[in-house]
Symmetry: C2
Subunit: 327 residues, 2 copies
């Protein structure tokens, strides 16, 4: 188990207080505030946990069918600086009342210096890793599975059953495929083994389309990876769509759903899946969540021009628990 | 002084932990996560502190020149429920390095049950009320000044100089005006006295247009109230616009800048000020902040149709402090 320090995120704050009575110039804090956001869907409580942001230098291969100038124009339209793609990571916790389910596992601090605050934020949320009953994985890319284990290979969530899409397991655990994969992709195959090989008996594989927990149904969303899976969550008469990596940065890939990011293994299928998902979300005015949307990573999708836009859910107090039905 | 409980916001979390080893069903937390967001502007550190949201029932008088059906259409376009205006409150702390300046003072928990978490969030940010050097007030509406004092009339920020716009003081502290005001407005006059009357010697009045702290310049933005004042903050070659109540809920009043909210005392002047401010922000691609934007209440303004839209700044890690210039 990693050491969880409930005050880790407040380190900057402690420094402020330790600085003592110098009132004229309170020192500037050195860390971002905690990233914990709770909302409700019917009887289900959702908690978005920020794991940080990876600032990826954009090269000419970021989008297969758009050049860097077009990508930079899309960033500028969102008032973002050129040549850098902010890739944020938000882990979603779903408390159904009977189960505490985590969707994707964060970066484990193993992807970028500016990411890896998930466990500290989980502590701020008052959730101990041992309270997580299940981890449901969308796909096997490292930024979604690395949080399952520490760098040293220890399990972080000792009581969590791990559920993975069957076709994702079949693809990434295939030795022959690994041996013939290009080096860059070979790293992903090896990483999947690092995380899962010794957990094989504990991992439950599900067929995309199946219910994975009470009220949480998986949805085939192939393209980004061969077994990439989305989820819908339903409670009472409300439902939301958890899109995983089907839609990544909204300013690029919701605005331009046909752009094929290099990180989609099957670019054309990824684009088709993306359009289907955005279209359904917009038509049904569904609440959506996506792992790489800016924290708290939830909102709605509106049609806009030839694409879509994310309308982020406004930050607001946690709504009261619905009353039980009479009778 | 009020009692500041650093753990107040974590009460729900504590309940989770106190519930002990029942791992199968982690209790749902009852409170929103802490609302503290830090960002940087040149050498200046900004901290947005959430004070909660007031859900105002919309009646036919909310907008003088638009009917409730039109208002509800604007809410629906933002995926918000009809007939309720979410009015969120974000206090902005500006650490210039030499001064810790607070812009507006929060509701003091005296406006709505769902607002009043500012001091708890300030504690999460590691900022003690005694560390605040100055409070700069945009205008004298209760939700901007009540946080200066407790309900019992005690000062919350004992070391803070209070700076107020001269025309705002002149208007609200005028006995003759109070006596002839309608009852609803009379309450505001009385409230201004409750907050300021015994602090008169400590309050510094400034002429809108003047610099109020190093790098913080006031801007006349009359209309919402007779002396309503905005601010610009500048550091190195960066600047941002703090719009106060010139633009309130962005989905109504940035999208429809000519709509005259009932809470603008001079509707036509308020609309003119709003357009000027939005136009300047859009033309100069300025970072903006507004007290009633959804937390963390910062972003950019883009022209959109006949109005404007808020592009919220994406949540991201605190950027490193800029290095000192060589030489």
């Amino acid at each position: 188990m990693t050491t969880i320090d409930r005050r880790a995120l407040l380190a900057g704050s402690a420094a402020v207080l330790a600085a003592g009575p110098a009132l004229a110039a309170a020192p500037k804090a050195g860390v971002q505030g905690p990233g914990v956001y709770r909302y409700r869907l019917g009887d289900t409580q959702l908690t978005a946990i920020d794991d940080g942001t990876w600032f990826v230098k954009i090269d000419d291969d970021l989008v297969r069918n758009a050049d860097t100038a077009a990508v930079n124009r899309a960033l500028a339209a969102a008032f973002l600086p050129p040549n850098i793609l902010p890739v944020s990571f938000t882990v979603l916790l779903v408390n159904t009342g009977s189960k505490l389910v985590m969707i994707d596992a964060g970066t484990g601090g193993q992807i970028a210096d500016t990411a890896g605050v998930m466990l500290a934020n989980l502590a701020v949320a008052g959730i101990e890793p041992k309270a997580v009953d299940a981890i449901v994985i969308s796909h096997f890319h490292p930024d979604h599975i690395n949080g399952i284990k520490t760098k040293d290979g220890e399990k972080v969530f000792p009581n969590a059953e791990i559920l993975v899409p069957e076709p994702e397991w079949t693809f990434w655990m295939d030795e022959a495929r690994m041996n013939t994969a290009p080096d860059r992709i070979k790293l992903y195959f090896r990483n999947a083994r690092r995380i899962f090989a010794d957990l094989e008996k504990e991992v439950r594989r599900f067929r995309p389309g199946a219910e994975v927990a009470p009220g949480i149904t998986s949805i085939p969303a192939f393209g980004h990876t061969p077994g990439h899976t989305a989820f819908s969550i339903a409670s009472r008469n409300q439902s939301m769509l958890v899109m995983g990596d089907a839609v990544r940065n909204p300013y690029l890939f919701a605005r331009h759903p046909d752009w094929q990011p290099a990180f989609d293994m099957d670019g054309a299928l990824g684009a088709k899946t993306r359009r289907q998902m955005l279209d359904r979300a917009a038509a049904d005015r569904m609440l959506v969540e996506a792992y790489h949307f800016p924290f708290p990573a939830c909102g709605h999708i509106a049609r806009s021009g030839k694409g879509y836009e994310l309308v982020p859910a406004p930050w607001q107090p946690l709504a009261p628990e619905p009353r039980p039905r009479a009778g």
